[in-house]
């Protein structure tokens, strides 16, 4: 299961290239020509990184509590 997923993920960029220059051009233009779009992506990634970092810390706290309960029983 993991292997197939990995293969698909690795093949994904190939699939986009296989569709010819047209798509690649369009995507390239989408990012380049229309100026400063990369900031928007950087901003979205930062915000999600922050929220996910908080979720991970909460998860660790929760695991510690779970361990405590199982040790008590």
């Amino acid at each position: 299961m993991k292997k197939t997923l990995l293969t698909i993920l690795m093949l994904l960029p190939l699939a986009t290239f296989a569709q010819g220059n047209d798509v690649a051009d369009k995507f390239g233009n989408f990012l380049r020509e229309s100026g400063k779009l990369y900031v928007v992506f950087a901003v979205i990634i930062t915000i999600f990184a922050g929220i996910i970092a908080m979720l991970i810390r909460q998860e660790m706290k929760l695991s510690r509590l779970e361990k405590k309960i199982t040790n008590k029983n």
């Binding site: 020509e33 901003v43 915000i47 929220i51 909460q58």
Partner: protein, 351 residues
Amino acid sequence: MRKYWWKILSIICLGVALTAGVLTPLSPGISNITPESVTSDSTYTINFYCQNAHLLSNQNSLQCFLSADSGKTMLCGKNILVKSDHQLTANFYFNHNIFSGNTKIKYLDAAINNDMDGTFAEFSAIKAVRDTTKNDVLAPAKCGVVIKNTDPQFFSFPYRDILIESIRNLYFHVPMWFAMIIILLVSAIYSIRYLYTFKIDNDIVASECAKVGLLFGLCGITTGSMWAKTTWGAYWNNDPKESAAAVGLLMYFGYLVLRSSIADHDKRARVAAVTNIFFYAIFIPLIFVLPRLTDSLHPGNGGNPGFNSYDLDNHMRVIFYPAIIGWTLLGVWLVSIRYRIRKLQNKIESA
């Protein structure tokens, strides 16, 4: 199901903000014009480079013109040649009539109009210099331009010179601060409630709200500095708004340090509640009032118009309000998870 409605609402709102905020096209705009400078009494071929325009498919209704003195002077492009959706060339004859009186230099606005894209322009795009050696050529400086649509005929965000695509950050950077202020307000309210009731639950809510609010503030300040890099030129500009926000966040860091430095539960809760209320009362004037009293790069401060006056048009609002609701509810969600874990922790430790 009924219990989860606000979580579902939060997901829907964030989905709307993310998809529409990223995928909605910008309005058409002129990004570059060459040549930038012309001499009068001669014909030039002017190149227009546009963004997000649909020039090829709307050639029938295409008009291209230069204007000055708010439309009193107008030059129409002849032999308009559309090279692609984003590029066209047109010939302009610059006569002496565009200069009023003895002016030697005149700046002309360039504009393109078609049925689908409406009218889009670059102001002061071309500098016309008067050729003083030839003086008496009199040709009409007025041409007939019939404009049917001034607005684009598709759902789009406004095209602004320096912002360009980064205008979409309105759905990610700005709601961070809205959510932070709302969550910190909840925190302050629970601190007041604690001082009335002395129930430890209120103190837990207040402290967890402060932590989530601080997370949003940190996200807001980092994304703000990224946005500042592309629009203001540097990551940190010592702008009053930036500095005030940094001071405010440090205050809340101080609040958390204060909490962890007092071991006794009741004493900690009482001291923290009082500080929290005071910090919120300082925080609001610090980031909303003080930066407005001086010049600032940030929209909505100093002599600088806010987003709502011209950048936040109705198309942007449609997605802006759901974005605020979505991010705020996500914050409330985080608070509720943190609160439940803290309650569990207290129960286990006291047992």
